[in-house]
């Protein structure tokens, strides 16, 4: 990077910010000078139109275009449902779909379970804040960064040379042969899933913890006086009390998992039978030049996310009403 490059970058940012504030300030000034009749409409248009135009041009129209693209081939000819047939018949594409199912079943369940258990165990303990920060920290790390962190854990050295990946070293300590983890299917998919669980557990833990603290202490004390053991108190008092939050956690993590792209991209790039829908969509549309297939995969992703989001929104609505 030369000084000129840096200068160019700074100019871009400063110019963009200046232009942006200038436009907004100018329109604001002009609107106050607008003729009295219809001034309210001018003001409304000023406040609303930037967002509406951006959304219409950048999200709604492209979404329709993608829906059409999904039915054409790479040169733009109409091919009907051929892309979808490809998706559900080709072995490689089927593995992608299968992997996505595994991800979306395993990640939400395990991260919620671990997060909930952790939140319960450290509840009201000394240093709870620090315990939380430790598990929550991966949430701030990018998926790419997390990918590198875990690739290091899974690293493999052949032959007699010392292992530098922790996982293989543990195997060696127990007298086993080291494994090329990321190249070995199907274990590699699960090792990628571990990374996602590692990230999402913190999220589950924070929300579960807040919910647990919302369960009235009287109820727990009453159950205690009745001579229940901790497990009974958990299943009969705490669990029903935090059901709403659990649903939100599970659905939210499911959606994030369906769209997981960066982890697969960084760790294996979808090779060795580890691809998932979001990664395949990118590979097909932007690497292989098969835009139709990419669009079809995006549509499937949308259809998979849709019911979860609707369910999530309904639960949130109900909770709002109760409050």
């Amino acid at each position: 990077m030369t000084t000129a490059d840096l200068l160019g970058k700074i100019i871009q940012v400063v110019a963009a910010l200046a232009a942006f504030s200038l436009v907004i300030g100018l329109v604001l000034f002009l609107i106050d000078k607008a003729p009295k009749r219809g001034r309210d409409y001018w003001q409304l248009a000023f406040f609303l139109l930037p967002a509406l135009i951006l959304l219409a041009v950048g999200l709604i129209y492209p979404a329709f275009r993608t829906s059409l693209l999904a039915f054409s081939n790479s040169s733009g000819e109409w091919v009907g449902g051929e892309n979808f047939v490809w998706m559900f018949t080709q072995p490689a594409a089927l593995i992608t779909l299968g992997n996505t199912v595994i991800w979306v079943v395993v990640v939400p369940i395990l991260s919620t379970a671990i997060g909930l258990a952790y939140a319960l165990f450290i509840d009201k303990s000394r240093g709870e804040k620090y315990f939380k920060a430790l598990v929550f920290m991966p949430m701030a790390i990018s998926f790419v960064g997390a990918g590198i962190i875990w690739r290091f854990v899974y690293d493999y050295k052949s032959g007699d040379s010392a292992q530098i990946g922790l996982l293989n070293q543990i195997l060696v300590w127990f007298g086993a042969e080291p494994v090329q983890w990321l190249q070995t299917s199907p274990i590699n998919t699960f090792l990628l899933i571990v990374v996602m669980i590692w990230i999402q557990t913190g999220f589950a833990m924070v929300i579960c913890s807040a919910a647990i603290k919302g369960v009235p202490t009287e109820q727990i004390e009453a159950a205690q006086l009745d001579g229940t053991n901790p497990w009974q108190r958990f299943t009969n008092v705490t669990l029903p009390g935090i059901r709403g939050s659990l649903v939100v956690v599970i659905t939210t993590i499911s959606i994030a998992t369906l769209k997981v792209f960066d982890i697969v991209r960084t760790m294996t790039a979808g090779n060795f039978d580890t691809s998932v829908i979001a990664n395949e969509m990118y590979t097909q549309a932007f690497r292989a030049g098969e835009q139709g297939r990419g669009a079809a995969l995006a549509i499937v992703l949308f259809l998979l996310v849709l019911p979860i989001v609707i369910y999530n929104v309904r639960v949130l609505r109900q909770q709002r009403e109760i409050r």
Binding site: F20, F47, T66, K129, A162, Q224, F286
Partner: protein
């Protein structure tokens, strides 16, 4: 959303009642808790260690000399001691072709993230204000439509958006480049616009929730005194909405900083535009065994989010809770 998600006090409702009996019950339950919670504490400790160890290992390794990283595990640091800052110096400042040259990408990450946070923030706040405080036909239906847009995965918009950018935005960028040669043809503009668009549905929804709860009398009074909507927005609404704006800004900043997909598609991948995440992904692909570079490079990219996270944890959690459906 509650302010105290991370370190919640015991809910206020339980306090008054419990006060008189607190001492008796408190002691009894504390004794019981201590007996039953020994295994629980042990399990919690194991989880905490498991969750921290991978990052810790990478962090330690990033300060070890290249020769030691590739031949010995980081857990043998005491048998094989060695400390160096050379890795960081190499990934950040070395100008040789083969080194990661992260300095330029670090600047890019900042240059992308700051405007891509501010643009949607302002545009969404304006729209949220209109939905909350300007009465017009179709207001309700339009708002529901924008709310519903959150369910569109950004994957669905990528291909056509890229086509549109090449068709309409590209000529403008070339023109700017000819005007000011210092600005490369492939500028930040597409990435900014893409991030802004994808952020809007959630941002409008969140900010609307907050802005609509500002007491109506305040705004009515200003309107009666002859203030225009513009004045009300800048003088009254924005200052009052600072907590919500901060929450969203932090969430959006981290989202953009950590994003890979949007960058891959709209940045072109050159040193002129590509952010750190894209460079890191590239390095793992081409130089996956250069651990002395990867470890240090990973930490360079983690520093900013970790600082934001630890200093603004409370806001971050709130933004996260509210924004968890984004994408």
């Amino acid at each position: 959303m509650s302010d105290n998600v991370v370190d919640l006090p015991i809910p206020g409702t339980a306090k008054g009642k419990a006060d008189s009996t607190a001492e008796v019950v408190g002691k009894a339950s504390r004794v019981k808790r201590r007996l039953t919670s020994r295994t629980a504490t042990a399990v919690a400790l194991v989880i905490a260690v498991l969750w921290t160890l991978p990052t810790f290992g990478l962090f330690i390794s990033s300060f070890r000399p290249a020769g030691l990283i590739s031949t010995t595990g980081w857990w043998t640091i005491f048998q094989n001691p060695g400390f160096t800052l050379a890795n960081y110096q190499e990934v950040l400042f070395s100008t040789s072709q083969s080194s990661p040259q992260l300095g330029a990408y670090f600047v890019n990450s900042l240059a992308i993230a700051i405007p891509a946070t501010l643009f949607p923030l302002v545009i969404a706040a304006m729209a949220a204000y209109a939905f909350a405080w300007i009465k017009f036909k179709w207001s309700g239906a339009l708002f529901v439509l924008i709310f519903a847009l959150q369910i569109v995965p950004l994957q669905l918009a990528l291909i056509p958006l890229l086509q549109m950018f090449t068709q309409f935005l590209r000529p403008g960028q070339i023109w700017i480049h000819e005007l000011i040669p210092m600005i490369p043809e492939q500028g930040y503009l597409p990435v900014w616009i893409a991030h802004t668009i994808f952020a809007l549905p959630l941002a409008i929804f969140l900010l609307h929730n907050f802005i609509s709860e500002i007491p109506g009398e305040v705004i009515e009074a200003a309107r009666v005194d002859g203030a225009s909507h513009g004045q009300v927005f800048f003088r009254i609404v924005l200052p009052l909405a600072v907590p919500a704006l901060a929450s969203f800004a932090i969430f959006q900043f981290l989202w953009v900083w950590n994003d890979l997909l949007v960058a891959l598609i709209f940045s072109g991948g050159t040193q002129d535009v590509a952010p750190l995440t894209q460079r890191l992904a590239e390095l793992t692909g081409t130089r996956g065994q250069d651990w002395q570079r990867l470890t240090a490079a990973a930490f360079v990219s983690l520093v900013v989010p970790l600082i934001v996270f630890f200093s603004l944890q409370r806001y971050f959690v709130r933004g996260l809770l509210a924004g968890s459906t984004k994408g």
